[in-house]
Amino acid sequence: MQQQPDVTEQTTQANPSTKRRSSVMMLVGFILVVLIVPATFGRMQIAEQFDQSAVDDLQESAADFVFIGNSLLNTRIDPDYLSELTDKTAVSLAIEGTAPGVWLLQLQNIVAAINNPPPEIFIFFHDDLITRQINFTGPKDPALIDRLSRSDTSQYALLSSKKQSVADRIENAFVSIYPMAKPKSNEQLQPISSIAAELIGYSDKEFAYAVDSTFTFANIRDQAAIIQSPKFHGDFDETIDESFLPELIQSANEIKANLTIVRVAARPTNDGLPNEPDSLARYTNDLSAYLHANDVHYIDMIGHIESGDIDATMYYDGYHLKNRFRQSYTEFFAKWMLTSAEAKGTAQ
């Protein structure tokens, strides 16, 4: 009689313990399945091929001026209008959200690849972007890198070998475990939008065109004044060696093109003064000296803020100009180009 409670006690003790063990085992199984299964998807992705049509288009245009940059360039220079004003052919290769890594690929694999390289190349940037070791300022687009890379020159390896941040390393490790997480091409539609477009009878291209024409920069609302905090990532001497700038200069030299580096100014402060901290001003001086030593033209648009040619009302946000000022900026730039050409002629 005395042993019975012990048996009951043992039974009641054993059950929760077994149950607990099986719950833990199930939890481990749950975590393993959730982590391992997605890693098996997407391992067969094929890299996009080099886009030869970009080379052919530039070749056909017989461009005198080629502009390279991102949306800052797009909101400032209208290449067709510039061609009209200067009687020369201007072509813009601007791609939104891109940075020097992509610009180097464009210069080496598109501009330098044509038979008649343009005599003048302009690269637009802001703050210290020209010496930053990055490919994109916005969402990453590995497919764009693939389309701009010739497999024989392994440009992707060149870009990957540059200094990577901790965040980049973590992201790369994550993507190597889960290839499905690789960022999609900016030109690729989200599958859900694609299904919806298909239902309405749009092809992907028609849909992309409709989206672009409806939400073009020309239709964007004005927004409240933004005073941009200028971006600064370290002194010029610390960043130049690991940047793409020396290779950009070398590539332009190889095709005997005049390279002009244009730094656009951030939106001025409320007082109309240049938005330029001392650290960035020092960086700009060093950059200017470096470019001068390498026979590269340099235009710093901060001077045009000081002279009042460009003011805060022309800005859409911290860096981009309002669409209605694109033409006047293009005129302004054309005037500078013509004056500069005259000066060169006089000097010669």
Partner: protein, 450 residues
């Protein structure tokens, strides 16, 4: 990372150390957002802790201590959240009547989550005053109640009677609770990264366009309704899931609001912890529905306007609150005339009306709304594609609601094995969908700005 670090050490220490670990983690978390704001959080804790203790120990002067706590908490909230709005409004009025014209340069940084922890800490002091709970001796437990990191920045707004007792007992590891927490986190991230962020890109495109035209504008409004639900309920699920990993059960904040059959029903399903807070601490103390129809209407309007202002210091939020009160009052008036609508059409009408009402929440420029609300220009076909896209993105939320409604979930709740298999399938699906369908750019949670 913080959650994983806490989770690892959490189960091997005593209850007091568990709470201390959570408190340190909570302040580290808040300091990481902005170190200065952690001092503000500490000040809130000190004021409300002392006030609650004094209210209980000195009942004769309890009203005085209650008002000190209310004034200090709401004063800080008013300063950080509303000072700029009032200065700007006064400036506009003076400018309009030609007395003065000055440009406001008052720029005050809004501490993240201040609206949430102000209400949570005030609720505690009021509950102590009304004897719904007792003042805690432990400063650590009280501080943790106000700062618990999974729900600090965007709720749910917890009650002392729900959260504090959980901190007052030792939590031990529970594999089932951990699995359900992970699953809830995955579901929350799915709602945020796949639904809210993708739909949010459509919303941003529409509302950044100068002249979208009425069809596109209404698609944008519908999309915003989907975005804000997926965004906010996604955050809540992540918060609730994270808390479950630590053995804490937070309150439900959403109960399928799209199934609401009336505006009043919607507010019983949407941001439940704010709605019940306003009901218990504003509407009922004002008299609720006890003092006749006229007072009921006034009380409802006051409560909803305050609810609107809680979201932000702007006139569109005031109008949004007024419109919500008007909708509820209209439905009450209709019921007086015995107007009855079948549940399904009532749900559909409520969904449309509430969706339309989000326009005032999303867009602060009333002249922009006026210019576009009936403008028939714009690309109708493109608007239709966006509308269908948003509808497809919203399907998982509808399916979740229908599953709960039809109690299909009961089948897999039968035993541990079926529950774990279901959780595995749901979590796996969410994770794969996040990897494959997440938006290119992720934005901050909408309710972080409140």
């Amino acid at each position: 990372m913080l959650l994983i670090a806490v989770f690892t050490g959490y189960w091997f220490v005593t209850r007091r150390l568990q709470n201390l670990l959570l408190l340190v983690a909570s302040y580290l978390f808040y300091s990481f957002i902005d170190p200065k704001m952690a001092i503000l959080l500490g000040a809130y804790t000190a004021v409300n802790y002392i006030a609650a203790r004094r209210i209980e120990s000195d009942r004769n002067n309890s009203r005085k201590y209650l008002w000190i706590a209310i004034t200090a908490s709401l004063g800080a909230l008013a300063f950080f959240k509303y000072a700029g709005f009032f200065v700007e409004s006064i400036s506009d009025v003076l400018d309009t009547i030609g007395i003065a014209n000055f440009e406001s340069t008052l720029k005050i940084i809004l501490p993240v989550g201040i609206s949430f922890y102000t209400f949570q800490s005030l609720g505690y002091v009021i509950d102590v005053y009304t004897n719904r709970t007792f003042a805690r001796r432990s400063l650590i437990d009280t501080a943790l109640f106000i700062s618990f990191f999974p729900q600090l920045v965007a709720g749910p707004i917890e009650r002392a009677s729900v959260l504090l007792p959980q901190f007052e007992r030792r939590r031990s590891f529970d594999a089932n609770l951990t699995a359900s927490g992970i699953s809830l986190i995955a579901w929350g991230f799915f709602k945020k990264l796949v639904i809210a962020d993708n739909v949010g890109m459509i919303v941003d495109n529409v509302f950044s366009t100068n002249q979208p035209g009425a069809p596109m504008l209404w698609v944008g409004v519908f999309a915003f309704g989907v975005q804000i639900l997926a965004d906010f309920s996604g955050y809540t699920d992540i918060a609730r899931g994270s808390a479950r990993l630590l053995g804490i059960e937070l309150s439900l904040n959403f109960r399928h609001p799209w199934l609401a059959a009336s505006p009043a029903d919607f507010w019983r399903r949407w941001h439940i912890t704010l709605s019940t807070w306003l009901r218990d601490y504003v509407y009922i103390p004002l008299g609720g529905n006890r003092k006749g129809r006229y007072n009921l209407a006034i009380n409802l309007i006051v409560t909803f306007v305050l609810g609107g202002l809680w979201h932000g210091a702007a006139w569109n939020f005031v109008l949004w609150g007024l419109l919500n009160a008007a909708l509820i009052l209209t439905c009450r008036a209709a019921s007086l005339f015995r107007v009855k609508v079948h549940t399904l059409p009532a749900t559909l009408i409520t969904f449309i009306v509430i969706s339309a009402n989000w326009l005032l929440f999303r867009e602060g420029d009333l002249s922009y709304i006026g210019d576009n609300i009936a403008d028939s220009s714009g690309d109708f076909k493109l608007a239709l594609v966006f509308g269908i896209t948003v509808l497809i993105y919203s399907l998982p939320i509808w399916i979740h609601a229908v599953i709960d409604l039809t109690r299909v979930a009961d089948i897999w709740e039968r035993n541990d094995v079926s529950r774990m298999v279901t959780l595995t399938a749901l979590t796996l699906t969410s994770f794969i969908a996040i990897l494959a369908l997440r938006a290119d750019t992720s934005t901050e949670f909408i309710y972080f700005r409140f």
